[in-house]
């Protein structure tokens, strides 16, 4: 099995390096094809491994070589394929294979075609390292690696100012979280003496709660950055400046879920600290609602989907925080499928609309882009959690888990969010595909995407529809290592009421969205009453958080840097040094007149020197001669 492990791991690397060879040359179709094939081979290997694990095989654990070893620290390049990581591997390789193939079409006309595949494959490799590593340090390699590739891919169109800005923002925001992660790793090392998962988990039970809490918090801070949880969420929406396949792969299906993966992976830790878990769950629920609310009014197709991703990540964290790791993981998987599908569909739309993103400028596209319409509708249904699509199985289980754990507030929030999700998803679908063909105003002639792109997307379509089937096998698989409960509400009646109630609520939301937007006819110009209402503005400006960051953090950082340089460094630190030198030089300059060159003055200096010596001599001589008297006087004075 190790062979498959290595293939799964290194095929993307080979793909990346191969494509990298051609980065400086014009587009070469075969780089895309080779890359896709290599990623596909990785998918196949992952599938083989999945089958092996499903068959009840022992987790595959390899230690390739030593990475760092010093003192007591020993970090190998170790990889493990167990139930959790194989799930992630499947998700990653599957979505990436599809995205790769899709990108051959999507990036067709781009100058940086070869470079794109190099970055994309590099990302897959990093993600594989992230999920397959058997220790925190290896995870961190992948963690940073995906950050790097995300930077490269968001800023892929580096001639665009916004794109590069977003890339840097994403990288730096992630770095903030990475610091937390790093501290978490340090804590793990100094308290358990190892960074290997098995060793560390075994040692956790011996540690006191305070330490564990700190570890849990810091690791979660890392997860917050990567998964764009509040308050580090702003980068995700901005990251939509990257090519859409990137958004599909990185900012929907895989990288952003790394945080969830981390929490799931460290489940044994979070089990020991339920308070932190509750915090994670609460934050997740909050983010779910918070992001969904922003998605309600946004006028950027990709951003809406991005907020939706954010919201779904909130769901995952809510589940993971409540200890329902397998549920979180399952939702992660399901979400990957339908969200990637949604993004790729959005990519088709963008392609068709010449990179227009405002859904209000579209409308009626279903006639031109039939398949895309179908796919996006199904993906939205899945997202909304309509039976029998994938989302239903995963999301409802989260609600059940929240209910079963008696966290009714979280349950309520998540339930309400489910309605919002349905609303904004179908607001989007309705605006894009239904109603009047508003794009005609702008003189755009949309067309359907290449066929092979649609074919490439089809596995996702299928999975979005049927992934619910896997719920039980999945549960059975992961329960071996995750502390998994089946969340059964004791009363079947309650369960039924909940299920049906939720479905009805969601369906109502969908209908409302259709009703409101399916026949939309005009492009809003910011004059309507609703657009000027406080709530609308608040939501549209993302609660003014980016504005706050820009005004109060970025600007003040810039100003402070400027002050540090021009004032502190130049005017204080350096000026002190120069000042000392200047004083020495200046003293020389001022006192050089002592050397007046006049002989008489020179002689006077000599005599003055002598007199100086003599006065000292007399003072000292008298003091020495009358030392007894002086001492007695001094002692009389009480000195």
């Amino acid at each position: 099995m190790e062979k498959y492990l290595y293939i799964a791991l290194f095929a993307p690397l080979v793909s990346s390096l191969f494509s990298a060879l051609f980065t400086a040359t014009p587009k070469k179709m075969f780089t895309g094809i080779v890359a896709s094939l290599l990623i596909f081979s990785s998918l196949v290997s992952s599938f083989v491994l999945l089958m092996y694990i499903l068959d009840g095989g022992e987790p595959v654990h390899v230690e390739m070589m030593t990475w760092m070893a010093t003192g007591h620290l020993y970090i190998p390049f170790g990889f493990i394929v167990d139930q959790v990581s194989v799930t992630m591997m499947m998700v990653v390789t599957l979505v990436s294979t599809i995205v790769h193939i899709y990108s051959i079409g999507y990036m067709d006309h781009d100058k940086g075609f070869n470079r794109f595949f190099s970055w994309l494959s590099a990302f897959v490799f990093s993600m594989m390292v992230l999920v397959m590593s058997d220790n925190y340090a290896g995870l961190f390699i992948g963690w940073e690696g995906v950050g790097l590739c995300s930077w490269g891919l968001i800023g892929f169109w580096f001639h665009k100012e916004v794109a590069t800005w977003a890339a840097n923002e994403a990288f730096i925001m992630n770095r903030i979280a990475d610091l937390g992660m790093l501290i978490g790793i340090f804590l793990v090392y100094w308290n358990t003496g190892t960074l290997q998962y098995d060793g560390a988990f075994a040692a956790f039970s011996t540690l006191d709660t305070a330490t564990l809490t700190w570890i849990g918090i810091f690791l979660f801070i890392g997860a917050m950055g990567k998964s764009a949880q509040f308050p580090l969420h702003t980068w995700l929406a901005d990251a939509m400046e990257g090519p859409t396949p990137v958004s599909a792969l990185i900012h929907a299906a895989t990288m952003v879920t790394a945080g969830v993966y981390l929490v799931v992976r460290s489940g044994e830790l979070y089990d020991l600290i339920p308070n932190v878990g509750l915090f994670i769950a609460s934050l997740g629920a909050f983010v779910a609602l918070f992001a969904a609310s922003m998605a309600l009014v946004n006028r950027d197709m990709k951003r809406i989907i991005a907020y939706s991703t954010l919201s779904q990540l909130g769901y995952m964290f809510a589940a993971a925080g409540l200890g329902a790791y397998w549920v979180a993981l399952f939702h992660l998987m399901a979400h990957a499928f339908f969200k990637a599908l949604l993004f790729l569909g959005a990519g088709n739309v963008m392609h068709a609309m010449h990179d227009e993103l405002d859904p209000f400028k579209m409308g009626g596209l279903k006639k031109v882009m039939r398949w895309t319409w179908i796919m996006m509708t199904i993906a939205s249904l899945a997202l909304a959690g309509i039976f029998p699509f994938a989302g239903f199985f995963s999301k409802d289980t989260i609600l059940e888990a929240a209910f079963a754990e008696h966290h009714f507030v979280i349950y309520g929030v998540l339930l309400f969010t489910a309605g919002l999700t349905a609303f904004y998803s179908f607001r989007l679908v309705a605006l894009i595909f239904h109603g009047e063909e508003r794009y005609k105003i702008f003189g755009i002639h949309p067309h359907e995407a290449y066929r092979f792109m649609l074919i490439a997307m089809s596995p996702l379509l299928i999975l979005a529809m049927i992934a619910g089937v896997f719920q039980v096998p999945f549960f059975e698989m992961v329960e071996e290592i995750l502390n998994a409960h089946e969340y059964h509400i004791h009363s079947h009646t309650t369960l039924l009421i909940m299920l049906v109630g939720t479905q009805v609520f969601v369906a109502l939301a969908i209908l409302y969205a259709y009703k409101k937007y399916a026949s939309w006819s005009s492009v809003p110009d910011g004059t309507s009453a609703i657009e000027n209402s406080f709530v609308y503005k608040l939501l549209y400006n993302q609660y003014y958080i980016p504005y706050f960051y820009e005004e109060y953090i970025v600007k003040s950082y810039k100003e402070m840097s400027e002050v540090f340089w021009t004032k502190v460094d130049m005017k204080i630190v350096d000026a002190t040094v120069d000042g000392i030198a200047g004083i020495i030089y200046g003293t020389g300059e001022k006192t050089r007149d002592m050397q007046s060159g006049n002989l008489s003055t020179m002689l006077k200096w000599m005599v003055a020197g002598l007199v100086g010596l003599l006065s000292l001599a007399v003072v000292f001589g008298l003091a020495a001669r009358y030392s007894d008297e002086i001492l007695s006087i001094l002692s009389a004075l009480g000195v």
């Binding site: 005599v607 003055a608 001589g621």
Partner: protein
């Protein structure tokens, strides 16, 4: 008693003479006062029994040194009134008075140490000149000879500096000029 009177008298005279020397604006007065002061100093030597020294003082100072200075004065044409720009008088007076007072303060107190042994005691019944000769040509033979070298140096120096050799400066001349001068046989 005689000694005391003589001391104070000559002390007064030397101080006055030297004072005139350093303060007068007439160069000739200064020269004369210096010569007089030196002669009065020789009086101390006689009082103190250093006859030979007194004689040397008169011969060397009044005879040789003063003659040289007189010659110099004529050469420099400083027999008239000397105009000197004076700087800050207070510095001069202050410094020298301070120096004097400081030393006097110490010197006015008698010495307490008593371990002084005369290394070359005066010999009873022997004239001062003889004694001096004895010490000078035994113990101080080497300094005496070095003094001779010193005088030789002074002589050579005086001849070199004041003679014609310094009239033309080779240092300041270019090579061409030097060749010309050489032809004139002025330079060696």
């Amino acid at each position: 008693m005689f000694e005391a009177i003589a001391f104070y008298l000559f002390a007064f005279l030397t101080i006055t003479m030297f004072f005139i020397t350093v303060t007068t604006s007439q160069a000739l007065y200064a020269l004369t006062a210096l010569a007089a002061g030196m002669i009065f100093i020789s009086a101390f030597f006689f009082i103190l029994g250093a006859d030979f020294l007194g004689a040397v003082q008169i011969i060397v100072y009044t005879g040789a040194v003063m003659a040289l200075y007189a010659f110099g004065m004529m050469f420099f044409d400083t027999t008239r009134e000397v105009k000197e720009k004076q700087g800050n008088k207070y510095i001069i007076i202050g410094l020298s008075t301070l120096a004097a007072i400081l030393v006097v303060v110490i010197f006015a107190t008698p010495m307490v140490s008593e371990n002084i042994v005369a290394l070359y005691p005066a010999i009873e019944g022997v004239g001062n000149t003889q004694e001096v000769g004895l010490v000078l040509f035994t113990k101080y033979l080497v300094p005496f000879e070095v003094a001779a070298i010193m005088l030789l140096v002074a002589m050579v120096a005086g001849i070199v500096l004041a003679g014609k050799k310094m009239d033309l400066s080779i240092t300041l001349m270019n090579d061409e000029d030097l060749e010309k001068e050489k032809n004139k046989k002025v330079l060696s």
